[in-house]
């Protein structure tokens, strides 16, 4: 699929390259910085695309920590697979070196070279599972030497096994599994407090410290969440045309590769042999409209521009959650004009900080009990006397809100049980569950 893979610095200078097919001249990548530059210049025209096609070569790249990872291909390849491979490559290398950046590439070029060799063969992605890769590629070469003394290095079974994500013979003294149910709320609210769109992105994360080859079965409260599509069909056909909007519908569920998808499809049971350590067993997406009629954290903000080069912001936040719940680490990020200065804040509660380099102010509220409402007033000076209208209209950036609410899921999803069964070892095990609702990347309030 991919003919070459390159690591380049932010200017597009190649740091490390691997050629898999030899069907593209090795100096082709030298054009990449020029193409990038061209792209940036044409940005204005809206021509900018994340992929470049130049003289029959396709440059498929992603940006990470001031690095470019770029794959070259000549043919009509499965670009989705290539992009995903590049992002998994980043993931693997990050797990190896903690952080993938220019310096760590230089420090580890030998390992990266070897990893690239194992992760892709003839341009076709092979294994992108760090735990398995670590089995036969080790950062520390010396380790491998000791094993190879008796000349019998085997590729790990897992590479060609049906269960390719877990090796045999894992052992823990205390067998435990930790479940985290995390729901991130994305919401787009217009200036008058109306919700334009909203979604819940949920994840069930597992940290497994379990011995042997355990078979897990995860039970969730099926408040109609997992209505089987077949049931849907029946309902749909019997009450022809009547839309069935009342039941909670999980719009989409994605499972980790260890989950038996056909079992879920037919019987609605989630069973899997977990990889060792941390992983996300499932993620789901729900349109939040059915749970959230109003925003969890309501922000209202008014900006007044006074004639004497002064801007005044009045903001109120309300936690529209249950009285018993508390929201933690609430942050309201309010954009302000770039050249504003001399801030004066009078928050009713919490602290306000001015972050000039990002031209916004952050109002932090450590704990925020449900049902409460707080106000804040901010005043900033403006150096130049300009048209107040202009200031307002040039400041269309939305307000962003961050928060987290523990012990609570918006959708009401709950883990009923986690059955752990290891047929050979038959040990006692302890599952633990935690719930949290937090703001997603896009919890924003548009400003007028």
């Amino acid at each position: 699929m991919a003919s070459q893979i390159h690591f380049l610095d932010i200017k597009g200078k190649p740091l490390l390259s691997r050629d898999y097919k030899g069907d593209i001249p090795s100096n082709t990548i030298d054009k990449f910085p020029l193409l990038l530059l061209e792209l940036e210049n044409s940005h204005e025209d809206g021509d900018y695309k994340p992929f470049i096609n130049s003289q029959g070569i396709n440059y498929i790249y992603i940006n990470h920590n001031n690095l470019y990872l770029c794959a070259l291909s000549r043919k009509n390849e499965n670009i989705m697979a290539i992009i995903i491979f590049l992002s998994k490559l980043i993931e693997v290398l990050t797990q190896y070196f903690k952080s993938l950046e220019e310096e760590s590439i230089r420090d580890n070029f030998v390992v990266i070279y070897e990893l690239l060799d194992e992760m892709m063969d003839f341009g076709v992605p092979q294994t992108t599972d760090t735990k398995i890769l670590k089995e036969y590629i080790t950062q520390d070469y010396y380790k491998l030497v000791k094993k190879s003394a008796d000349h019998l290095v085997q590729p790990p079974q897992a590479v060609t096994n049906a269960v390719s994500w877990r090796k045999d013979g894992i052992h823990y003294k205390k067998n435990e599994a930790f479940l985290d149910v995390v729901e991130s709320i994305n919401m787009l609210i217009n200036a008058s407090g109306q919700v334009l769109n909203s979604e819940i992105l949920g994840e069930v994360k597992v940290k497994s410290h379990l011995s042997g080859m355990p078979d897990l079965r995860l039970g969730l409260n099926d408040k109609g969440i997992f209505t089987s599509p077949n049931a849907d069909e029946e309902a749909g056909s019997s009450s022809a045309g009547q839309t069935n909007n009342k039941g909670i519908e999980m719009e989409d569920i994605k499972f980790h590769q260890c989950v038996r998808l056909s079992k879920f499809e037919n019987e609605r049971i989630i069973t899997f042999i977990p990889p060792d350590g941390e992983f996300t067993v499932m993620s789901y997406r729900l349109s939040a409209a059915q749970f959230l009629m109003k925003p969890l954290i309501l922000v209202q903000c008014k900006t007044k521009v006074h004639k004497h080069s002064r801007i005044e912001i009045l903001c109120s936040v309300k936690a529209q959650i249950k009285k018993k719940s508390t929201a933690n680490n609430v942050e309201v990020i309010i954009p302000i004009p770039e050249d504003a200065d001399t801030p004066k804040f009078t928050p009713e509660y919490g602290t306000v900080k001015w972050i000039p380099e990002k031209s916004h102010i952050v109002w932090k509220l450590k704990t925020f009990p449900g049902g409460k409402q707080f106000h804040m007033r901010a005043e900033l000076g403006l150096p130049a006397v300009t048209d107040p209208e202009e200031i307002l209209s040039s400041n269309k950036k939305p307000i962003k809100v961050n928060f987290s609410i523990p012990y609570f899921t918006t959708s009401g999803i709950q883990v009923r049980y986690l059955r752990i069964n290891e047929p050979k070892l038959q040990y006692q095990s302890y599952p633990w569950v935690r719930y949290i609702t937090q703001s997603g990347d896009d919890y924003t309030v548009r400003t007028k």
């Binding site: 695309k49 096609n53 230089r106 070029f109 003839f122 049906a162």
Partner: protein
């Protein structure tokens, strides 16, 4: 520990000396490894001088140490092509390693020899790979499968002749599913390259492959799903079963698996009549699984969105998505916003038009100029597409114009011109709003549009004379299209209001015929002049310029939203390429990848004719004769191999498809500004007008590349 300090350019002489040193000391292996790491650093740095180290490196392979040998292999792969003679000494080593006890060693030797495109190494590979395809260890078999693709790349004919393809085929029945899926990946590379070979699988095997889906790693699933495209279902039920078996893969965490599963499902849907009725939940599930990919990084979002467009164009009935999900976020990159805007346009219908228009209004007043312009263009296109919502659209545009922001006005003029053409006389009030702000109009496209409006509606515009005068004042410097439009508009003005217009028309015609160098403009000037001054100009009973009016003031053909019409054959092929590069360029595969094999839906009793979706299908003439088809070459089906050609030909005629739909567009673009006076060309004028405002990038692309 870090190897950073080893990452420097070295000279072969230095490294050689270091090697000699290392051998003298105790624990030489560790020292050698450090030196080898320096060698690797120089591979990374493309230091070709290190080729001189060849004999030393080859002799290092004597040392029985996997790490050392691994690095030696990397040296060989990098430098052997530079010194083919010296490299030959490595062959005995590779020959020995290929039968090593350790499977890792065996596969490494195999990988190395097949990666060095030198005759002797290839000879060795040809004799080795065959046995390794039957190696006891699955890991080696997997590597051997890819070695066959490498051999094929090196010498396709020989690989085929010596039966490697058949042996690779055998691997498809291997007992290890990982080997099977990698063999499929290797085969698919070969069949894509080859003009003669193609992969076909039978029913039993397709079921086996599906059953492997649950037991392999994510990448193997991608290859397995991909290979399912090679099975042609012979009955509807078969296709349905396969669709149902593929549906679980929509829930995989790897986006590439998901997109491939969608590709497979769409492919099989061609063999089911009304799949959306038989599997009512299918559109919803496809929609949901695509939408949930929108929470991924921007590049992936972009890919997904492009494929959503593709599906909306061709397979609307199989995709159930809410337009709200595609509303732009503030920090979306511009290319994501663009694509979302296209989707919003495609999804807009009478029932959701209210929400959509509110959202577009939000974009139109955004500070990002290009976004705001695109939003206005979308308003115009929606007004043309949805007659019932056109009122609301025009109201919004008029509101926006009255804010008096120049770029909004520039864009709105173009849009309003389209709307006026689509709904003659319905929205004349919009002209009044525009006229108030005519002073801001200075871009060629907007000017052309404004001048057209002036000419067409001059009788209703107060003070039209002075406005005309102002636009005309720059006539000599204007671009050609503005000059053309001016000529026509002024002539119309004269015909409708002779007293006021006479002076203007004389002035412009004089300029056009005497001072303009461009032959087209000059010709047109003369043409009008003669028309107006001809003896035949007045009607039989002496009506003023009756005959000229008949020619110049004839009605314009009405325009429609032509965006929804893309050649179904192109769509069909793109659908078979979901998730590939072609799907993001959204244009005919052969356009971008000249050497790509054409993909088409294989014939089968169950194959359904493509549902018609174009709203103006009335236009579809009887199937055009392939030979008379004025298609520009890239749009023509790829005529390769007479069998498939005939087959395609027949099918196109049977299903009454017309590849004509997309053609006039192309033609009109090339022909430049067209003359309203020639009825035959009126169509293309309409096309051109709406093309200007078109949002579908496929269109833009098809002319750009």
């Amino acid at each position: 520990m870090s190897d950073g300090k080893l990452f420097t350019k070295s000279k072969s002489v230095e490294l050689k000396a270091e090697l000699d040193q290392a051998f003298k000391k105790l624990k030489s292996q560790n020292r050698i490894k450090i030196i080898l790491k320096k060698v690797i650093a120089n591979i990374v740095l493309h230091n070709n001088e290190l080729v001189n180290l060849m004999p030393d490196i080859i002799s290092l392979m004597k040392i029985d140490d996997l790490a050392i040998r691994k690095m030696c292999f990397q040296y060989l792969i990098a430098y052997c092509p530079l010194a083919p003679k010296l490299a030959l000494d490595a062959i005995p080593f590779l020959n020995r390693f290929k039968d090593d006890i350790s499977p890792i060693m065996r596969s490494l030797a195999l990988k190395t020899m097949t990666s060095i495109p030198i005759k002797e190494f290839m000879e060795l590979s040809f004799s080795t790979v065959k046995f390794k395809l039957e190696d006891a260890d699955p890991y080696v078999r997997k590597i051997a499968a890819f070695s066959v693709s490498k051999l094929y790349q090196y010498d396709a004919e020989r690989t085929e002749k010596e039966g490697f393809i058949d042996s690779l085929n055998e691997l498809l029945y291997d007992k290890n599913q990982i080997v099977v899926s990698n063999a499929l990946a290797a085969l698919s590379y070969i069949t894509e390259q080859s003009k003669t070979l193609s992969l076909t699988i039978d029913k039993a095997h397709s079921l086996t492959l599906i059953s492997y889906l649950s037991n392999t790693n994510e990448w193997c699933q991608v290859y397995l799903l991909n290979s399912l495209m090679s099975y042609v279902p012979s009955t509807t039920n078969e296709a349905l079963d396969l669709i149902e078996a593929t549906i679980p893969s929509l829930q995989h965490e790897n986006s590439s698996v998901v997109l491939n599963a969608i590709k497979v499902i769409i492919y099989y849907s061609n063999y089911v009549k009304n799949p959306e009725l038989i599997l009512p939940s299918l559109p919803k599930r496809l929609g949901a699984s695509l939408v949930s990919l929108l929470s991924k990084p921007a590049e992936i979002q972009f890919l997904v969105l492009r494929n959503v467009i593709l599906l909306l164009l061709g397979r609307k009935e199989l995709l159930n998505v809410d337009v709200e999900m595609f509303f732009c976020r503030y920090d979306d990159p511009i290319y994501v916003k663009d694509t979302k805007l296209e989707i919003i346009y495609l999804l807009a219908n009478e029932s959701n038009s209210h929400i959509v228009l509110r959202e577009l209004e939000e974009y139109a007043i955004e500070i990002d100029v290009s976004m705001s312009r695109k939003a206005i263009r979308a308003f115009g296109n929606l007004a043309v597409k949805l007659p019932k919502s056109s009122n609301e659209c025009v109201d919004c545009i008029c509101d926006l114009i009255s804010n008096g922001i120049p770029y909004i006005i520039q864009e709105s003029v173009i849009v309003i011109k389209n709307i006026l053409r689509r709904y003659p006389r319905k929205f004349n009030f919009a002209i009044d709003v525009l006229v108030k702000h005519y002073k801001y109009i200075d871009e060629p496209d907007s000017k052309t549009a404004m001048i057209w409006i002036l000419g067409q509606y001059c009788e209703g515009i107060p003070d039209v004379y002075s406005i005309f005068e102002e636009f005309i004042s720059t006539f000599k410097e204007d671009p050609i299209e503005v000059q053309s439009a001016t000529l026509t508009a002024v002539t119309k003005y004269y015909l409708k209001m002779p007293q006021q217009g006479e002076a203007l028309v004389l002035k412009v015609l004089k300029w056009a015929t005497e001072e303009i160098d461009n032959p087209d403009i000059r010709d047109r000037g003369f043409f009008y002049w003669r028309l107006l001054s001809s003896e035949e100009a007045n009607g039989q009973n002496g009506e003023f310029q009756e005959n000229t009016k008949r020619i110049i003031l004839s009605n314009n053909p009405s325009i429609s939203s032509e965006n929804d019409n893309i050649d179904p054959n192109i769509l069909e092929e793109l659908e078979l390429n979901i998730g590939t590069l072609a799907s993001i360029y959204l244009k005919p595969v052969q356009h971008v990848f000249r050497l790509a094999n054409r993909k088409f839906l294989p014939q089968s009793p169950a194959l359904q004719p493509r549902p018609k979706q174009s709203p103006i299908s009335s236009e579809s003439s009887p199937a055009p004769d392939e030979e008379d088809d004025p298609a520009p070459p890239p749009l023509r089906p790829y005529l390769n191999g007479n069998q498939s050609d005939n087959f395609l030909h027949v099918r196109r005629n049977n299903s009454q498809r017309s590849s004509k739909l997309s053609l006039p567009r192309q033609a009109s673009f090339d022909s430049g500004f067209s003359n309203e006076e020639f009825p035959a060309k009126k169509g293309s004028f309409a096309q051109r007008l709406s093309r200007k405002a078109s949002m579908i990038t496929s269109r833009k692309n098809s002319t750009k590349y």
